[in-house]
């Protein structure tokens, strides 16, 4: 029998592409019900009625895929609540029809390029997360230019950076340069480094500030805790 914990674990692989954080951490999963026969229903909620429908679509579709792939799931249903485009998104995902079909002439293309742009932002932000402690520990920017990923001590931030780079097809093994262009994958030269690090920091500040506002809005809307996350016990309550 499929356990609810397995479903939640699968949902933890689904990210808000804009915030680069799991929907489970963000408090976007409002309920998750698993029947004995393997029928799963997941409900998602977002910080506002007008959250960008393209990102909303990606999250609902990704959640559907993640849940469907869990062993023993007979039927998966993912429902977005309280959103202006919920009907179009829910119907589109349920019919597995893709974004363009769901939105007709309002969408001229699928969302792959959009997603790629935001994974690049995640790479930049992740670069700041692993570089900031090195700089704080006294490493110079010139030294950073000579480092490879394998030179860094293991950390969750490093794992995450590697995984985002791999997702984009950028070099992510131990021998790859720590600092690479998020589009071409080429190593950043010493001269371009200060600006690259500035951009990385700015991208991270934006991502985290944005996430903090989303958390506040979700809290106002649904009474979640200050970070917008709901715990498993609260999830049980919602259920």
């Amino acid at each position: 029998m499929t356990e609810r914990a397995q479903i939640l674990a699968a949902l933890a692989s689904v990210r808000d592409p804009e915030l680069d954080a799991p929907v489970t951490d963000l408090g976007f999963v409002s309920s998750c019900v698993v029947s004995a026969a393997g029928d799963v229903q997941v409900r998602l909620r977002l910080p506002t009625y007008f959250c960008a429908p393209n990102f909303a679509f990606l999250m609902v579709a990704d959640a559907y895929d993640a849940v469907s792939q869990v062993a023993g799931v007979r039927h998966a249903e993912v429902i977005l609540d309280d959103h202006f485009a919920a009907d179009a998104i829910n119907a589109g995902v349920a019919a597995r029809s893709g974004f363009v079909q769901a939105f007709g002439e309002l969408a001229a293309g699928e969302l792959d390029e959009l997603r790629t742009d935001f994974v690049r932002k995640a790479v930049l932000a992740g670069t700041d997360r692993v570089c900031r402690p090195l700089l704080a520990a006294g490493r110079s920017t010139e030294e950073l230019a000579g480092l490879t990923l394998g030179d860094l001590p293991p950390s969750p931030d490093l794992d995450r950076l590697r995984s985002r780079r791999a997702e984009l097809g950028l070099p992510a093994d131990d021998d790859s340069a720590l600092l690479v262009d998020a589009v071409t994958g080429e190593a950043i030269g010493a001269q371009a480094l200060p600006l690259h690090l500035r951009r990385a920091r700015l991208t991270r500040v934006n991502l985290e500030a944005n996430g903090s506002i989303c958390g506040g809005m979700l809290q106002h809307r649904y009474g979640t805790d200050v970070h917008g996350a709901i715990t498993n016990s609260e999830l049980e309550g919602v259920r």
Binding site: F50, F84, D117, R199, N206, N210, I213, G216
Partner: protein, 351 residues
């Protein structure tokens, strides 16, 4: 004006509203959008200090008395700039129009500047309307809401040829300041709808206009900063930044301010309370008291009394040709209140 520790601040609230979102103004059939919109705004208010929160009912529509008290009597504001948001697909008489704003401004001379709007989808009729509006209200600025829904269209961009026609007309009519809302928008759905590249194009092609990006492109501050740093006539409108982050997320507020000061600079940042999402009083008091909370921020540009004087009023005063008494000016006359190449309103503001 606001005075603290012997320093006097001239306050220009460069982004505020006088809206009517009450249920009787909701367009039949579009109630869910009208309701969703104002509830979304109300959620933003929750990011301010609890004692400043309003009930949703109050929030639907501030009265004239509320506004005059909150903004001028309690709120220290010397000059307030009305930015209109029509949203007539959802609100029968408009959400916040130049007509509503102009009527209030006429009752309180010298308090307000009434900004206008245009929409390239209006074509020739819109050009004619703009001419009439400028004659009537003396607009020196307009607020663009590129995401506004209309008759099946869900928005437009400043790059559209029709938009260029309106930018040319604006310039011809003496409008200097183009405020662009870069916040929630829903078209085109398959692209990044918060993209600020249309501002980049227009700012390059219209160097004699100033482009004030309201809400600094949130949630794409990085894209806005990369763009603004290359365009001398692009400004950062701080509405939402102070209101949404300073109280609720002080650490992120410090980082965002540090980044904006680095990339955009203190001469190109303007305060806007976003009333009645938030009242100006706590924002001004808090910002005057504000500094980076720790050494962690030591490589961001420093914040001085002059920085705050510029952001809270002097920069916007310069963009709009608002006369500022000597006592509020910054001591060092060599320090410009706005970037040298800023394009200034050259005659007085008529209302």
């Amino acid at each position: 004006m606001y005075e603290k520790d012997g320093n006097k601040y001239f306050i220009v609230d460069s982004h505020m509203h006088y809206w009517d979102a009450s249920p009787q103004n909701w367009v039949p059939g579009a109630e869910q959008y009208a309701k969703g919109w104002i509830e979304c705004f109300h959620a933003y208010q929750s990011l301010g200090p609890p004692e400043t929160h309003w009930t949703l009912e109050h929030f639907y529509k501030a009265s004239e008395e509320d506004l005059m008290k909150d903004v001028f009597e309690d709120g220290y504001v010397d000059k307030a700039i009305f930015q209109p948001t029509y949203l007539t697909e959802w609100y029968a008489s408009g959400f916040n129009t130049a007509e509503q704003n102009g009527a209030l401004a006429a009752k309180h001379p010298d308090k307000f500047i009434v900004n206008g709007r245009w929409d390239p989808r209006d074509g020739d009729a819109g050009i004619k309307q703009l001419e009439e509006d400028v004659a009537r209200y003396g607009h020196k600025g307009v607020k663009m809401y590129t995401a506004e829904w209309r008759e099946g269209s869900r928005g437009w961009t400043l790059k559209d040829p029709e938009a260029y026609r309106f930018l040319e007309k604006s310039q011809e009519l003496g409008i200097k300041n183009i405020h662009v809302h870069k916040g929630p928008t829903i078209w085109p759905l398959d692209k990044d709808a918060f993209d600020v590249s249309d501002v980049d194009h227009a700012a390059t092609d219209f160097p004699e206009l100033n482009f004030i990006v309201e809400h600094v492109g949130l949630p794409r501050i990085e894209d806005f900063c990369f763009m603004a740093t290359q365009e001398p006539n692009v400004y950062a409108g701080l509405s939402v930044v102070i209101g949404g982050l300073m109280y609720a997320r002080p650490k992120f507020f410090a980082k965002v301010m540090g980044e904006l000061l680095f990339w955009v600079g203190e001469d190109k940042m303007t305060f806007g309370s976003d009333y009645s999402i938030w009242e100006p009083k706590w924002q001004i008091e808090g910002f005057v008291d504000w500094d980076y909370p720790s050494d962690e921020f030591s490589d961001y540009p420093r914040v001085t009394v002059d920085t705050k004087k510029k952001i809270l009023g002097l920069n916007a005063a310069k963009l709009y040709g608002i006369e500022v008494p000597e006592e509020f000016q910054i001591a060092d006359a060599s320090a410009p209140a706005a970037q040298d190449d800023a394009v200034l309103v050259d005659d007085g503001v008529r209302v």
